[in-house]
């Protein structure tokens, strides 16, 4: 772009982004990730009190997610990239001649290019009485806070509007224990996306969940009620009474600024833009829901993202344009899968349709094809949306349909080849519409080395938005690896030509109890440091036999083999179990006395327990004997097994506690203690959504609400932090435990060796939804097995230290020398902060000591 190059070398081009919603933020992200980002300076204004958050996931706020969880960016991120941000200040004036803007607080900024990303506002129909105190809208976090507050004093709630957002909102009201109603003007729910059959099935399913649906209702007025706060009178003479009303009757583009300052807008609103997202002013762009392209407003996030990309491309001299967007959607509404593709209403001339209805399972599928049956025009899916991923590209790419198109929606028969796999898709097929990732993009990343699902997702972002395409991403990966002739070698090691999962199945089905047996029948050689601990762990998960038995001892790695964590000088740490971090004062005294007696360095761990360091091999049994006498048991800090269940104090003391988090944490810790798993795992239980136990960073996080427990899964702190995914809400104790039992056993069976639950989840084809189908719907028919396996482990639990102490033969190993009572002479420590073994001395100091030399460092 020769015309601006000179300017940019002089000083950066100043871009002002009005509105910091999802699309405004996407624009900024695209600028800062652009190779020439140094040529641009970005300032963004937001009238909301916080930076961009994920409005698509807004309803998650009701199920326990906090505003922080929903954030898409942070002040740190903007600071790091030199983006200036001003929140709680609305841009109120544009001076197009001077190229400046002024805010409500009087701030004036000049711009080179102005980007309007002002989004939309909820449409509130002009109904008399619609401005009453408890008549609300559903758009921002603040709106949700108002809804929650209003619900507290309400028994009945009505949502006006039976579209996607309206139904989400009705679900939220239902969850807030209100009698929830949906009032819709059209004859069916989700009238834009669904046809009559689909809408009817959705209605049945939603009514089954306890939400009342009223269609073809035109609200005439809202007046004072008799049994509730308000009465809504409908045009047909009927009425309902309600304490609160939420309007969710569509959106209107926020085009106020354009309107006031003479930028062209459409007849029915919306800032008119061209393919470059330019408005009628050559220095002003509009993107997202405020923009009108070809007479259309796009109320979805994906087209907004594409506009953001096009605008950045135009500013930076690229060639990407916005050329319209597909409005197909797939979502889960109140637990009901719903999808709509293309011409769902069969409005194309001559369109032919195929319908599949399964009343027993509540499934409705309709295929709309061209008159000659050669191409797909539209699809409606309710109850089962698995086909969405393959059908959408078929419609978009106008792919040739099979001779009998109905096979695309008929249930797959066992053994029948799937008619259309991902292999048939062209490279241009869009796989992830949230992040605009095509099949070609995925293939490029796979060729560049992202050969694991988790890597592929993190480098392309595919599957990390709504997650709906996660299974497709996995299928593309597998198909491409096969294409490349790459044999994916997941063999455990050179000794076993099986994956960990296959070996686990062998152990289970062939009832194999020892490593030697397994090696003889299914492996070769002597084994190694990879397969031995892995097999040791699997045997322990399934059979739960003593890890130091004659057969098992050879399999144990550094820590398990002496039931302690080896430190860098060869001494061990000792960690007794302090379930949920609850310990009596007497318990602390007992621990203190043992620590003093054996002169151990003492520290509180991150998992709410106490760690002793500096115990020599021969001291381990002595220390453990005293610990067990004092009522403690092993904490399994050395094992790939449950570490701790962290808890906050909960409702027994805390003013905010909703439930007794300590008791639940103790229950869980006592239940899963000792279970050997592919890697260590941690739990956390918080007594309320303030989340003091940081449960969402644990493999299993449990958070109390006023209606039960919310379960989060596959979180992680550590090297690559990951917030847990909300797996299920408002559970009672028994269901919570049942779900954790099942997930844990599924993880133990199917994870790779040393794979934490977070990576296991990221690698799972189908992701969270798949895990739910296995654990909640028992899709694989394995849940009973999982529970049996878990119960066997729980029933056979023994404290490994207690068992070891009772066996003199076993204790012989706990000596530095087999032929002498001497101890290792290469140990030396430095005192500090009141502890004599504050740290291990330098190797040179330890060496001097071993040689019998004076060690001045120690005398200081």
């Amino acid at each position: 772009m020769p015309d601006t190059t000179d300017l940019q070398t002089v000083k950066p081009l100043k871009l002002i982004v009005v509105g910091n919603g999802m699309v405004g933020h996407k624009f900024i992200e695209n600028v800062v990730n652009h190779p020439d980002h140094e040529n641009y300076q970005v300032i963004t204004f937001s009238e909301e009190p916080r930076l961009a958050y994920d409005r698509v996931q807004l309803s998650a706020y009701f199920s326990g997610k906090t505003a922080d969880d929903l954030m898409l960016t942070s002040e740190d991120y903007y600071d790091q990239h030199g983006v200036k941000y001003i929140i709680k200040d609305k841009v109120s004036t544009i001076d197009r001649a001077a190229k400046t803007i002024t805010t409500e607080s009087g701030r004036v900024e000049s711009y080179d290019k102005l980007i309007l990303a002002t989004g939309s506002f909820p449409f509130v129909p002009p109904i008399p009485g619609g401005d009453a105190e408890h008549c609300l809208v559903y758009r921002t976090i603040e709106d949700l806070e108002r809804i929650t507050a209003s619900a507290k004093g309400s028994k009945v709630g009505v949502v006006i509007g039976g579209g996607l957002l309206g139904l989400e909102c009705a679900k939220a009201l239902h969850n807030l224990n209100l009698e929830a109603h949906v009032v819709e003007f059209a004859p069916r729910l989700m009238a834009v996306q669904l046809d009559e059959g689909g809408g009817a099935l959705l209605r049945t399913k939603i009514e089954d969940l306890g939400v009342h649906v009223h269609t073809e209702k035109n609200t005439k007025e809202i007046v004072a009620g008799e049994t509730c706060r308000y009465r809504m009178n409908f045009a047909d003479g009927s009425h309902i009474e309600t304490d609160m009303i939420v309007f969710s009757a569509g959106i209107r583009p926020q085009d106020e600024l354009a309107r006031q300052f003479d930028i062209a807008i459409g007849e029915r609103g919306g800032i008119t833009i061209d393919d470059n997202c330019l408005t009628s002013d050559k220095d002003i762009y509009a993107i997202g829901e405020c923009a009108l392209w070809d007479g259309k407003i796009f109320g979805l996030v994906a087209p907004g993202y594409t506009m953001a990309k096009a605008a950045v491309s135009h500013i930076t001299g690229g060639s990407e344009q916005f050329t319209g967007a597909d409005m197909s959607t797939k979502l889960k509404l109140m637990g009901v899968d719903v999808a709509s593709i293309g011409d769902a209403h069969a409005r194309t001339e001559g369109a032919q349709t195929y319908t599949y209805i399964n009343d027993a399972e509540g499934i409705y599928k309709r295929l709309i094809v061209s008159a000659d049956k050669s191409t797909l025009l539209g699809v409606v899916l309710v109850g089962d949306t698995d086909a969405y991923g393959t059908l959408l590209p078929m419609m978009l790419e106008k792919m040739q349909l099979p001779d009998a198109p109905e096979v695309l929606i008929l249930p797959q028969v066992e053994g029948g080849a799937s008619a259309f796999g991902v292999a048939a898709l062209p490279d241009s097929a869009l796989i992830c519409s949230c992040h605009d990732v095509t099949k070609g993009d995925l293939i490029e990343a796979i060729h560049a080395g992202a050969t694991e699902l988790s890597e592929l997702k993190s480098c392309t972002k595919a599957g990390t938005g709504c997650g709906g395409c996660s299974a497709m991403v996995g299928q593309v990966l597998n198909a491409e690896l096969e294409n490349m002739g790459m044999e994916v070698n997941n063999n455990l090691c050179e000794h076993f030509e099986y994956t960990r999962q296959e070996l686990f199945d062998v152990i289970r089905t062939k009832k194999i109890k020892t490593f030697d047996e397994l090696l003889e029948q299914y492996g070769s050689g002597h084994g190694c440091m990879t397969c031995k601990p892995a097999v040791g762990s699997m045997l322990a998960t399934y059979w739960n036999e003593y890890v130091l038995s004659d057969d098992n001892i050879q399999l144990q790695d550094t820590n398990d083999i002496f039931l302690g964590n080896m430190q860098k000088d060869g001494t061990y740490s000792v960690v007794p179990r302090i379930a949920a971090g609850e310990i009596s004062a007497q318990g602390l005294i007992d621990l203190g006395q043992i620590g003093v007696k054996y002169d151990l360095y003492t520290k509180i761990t991150g998992g709410q327990r106490i760690d002793f360091f500096g115990a020599q091999l021969h001291e381990l049994p002595l220390i453990w004997d005293e610990l067990i006498q004092a009522g403690f048991e092993t904490g399994h800090a050395y094992g790939k097994s449950l570490r701790t269940v962290k808890s906050c104090v909960g409702s027994t003391w805390c003013r905010y506690g909703m439930m007794d988090s300590v008791s639940m944490a103790i229950n869980l810790e006592m239940r899963y203690k000792g279970l050997r798993s592919p890697h260590k795992f941690k739990l956390g239980v918080s007594g309320c959504t303030r989340e003091c136990a940081e449960a969402q960073s644990k493999d299993f996080g449990v958070i109390a609400t006023d209606k039960g427990w919310n379960l989060y899964v596959c979180g992680n702190g550590g090297m690559k932090p990951r917030h847990g995914d909300l797996f299920a809400s408002d559970l009672d104790d028994a269901t919570l435990i049942k779900y954790i039992d099942r997930i844990l056993m599924f993880y133990c069976r199917t994870a790779d060796r040393l794979q934490r639950t977070s990576v296991w989840m990221d690698n799972m084809e189908g992701g969270l939804d798949y895990l739910k189908s296995v654990v909640i719907d028992d899709k694989l028919g394995l849940c009973e097995d999982f529970e049996t396996d878990m119960n066997r482990v729980i029933d056979t639990y023994e404290c490994e230290w207690k068992k070891t102490l009772n066996n003199p033969e076993r204790l012989k190993r706990f000596a530095h020398f087999i032929n002498s009572d001497a101890t290792d002479d290469r140990l030396a420590y430095e005192a500090d902060r009141g502890q004599s073994k504050a740290r291990i001395a330098q190797p040179s100091v330890r060496e001097s000591k071993a040689k019998g030399e004076e060690i001045p460092a120690l005398e200081v």
Binding site: Q554, K568, R813, I818, N819
Partner: protein, 110 residues
Amino acid sequence: MSNINWETICNVSDINKNTGVCALHNGEQVAIFKVGKEEQLFALQNYDPFGEANVLSRGIIGDVDGQLVLASPLYKQQFSLESGKCLEDDSVILKTYMVRQQDGLVQLQA
């Protein structure tokens, strides 16, 4: 052979199969390992030159491409049980010791 003196360390049965023990031998720490059904014995220095600690007797035994190895419990370098050679670093060779089974006893060459 008869000139060689052997020092008895322990019973063969004192060593669990496929694990090691540490012996104090002429003032040195020696790690002794018992491998496989044949109960083959190997002896290496107990000192781990990478981790700088006396811990090798507590490592895990295995084979790599048919060669019997010991993995250090600290940082997992592998050493040939036969030669003491480090697989990850050619320049490091552990001291090896002559070890044998005699009448159910483990003996190191004196």
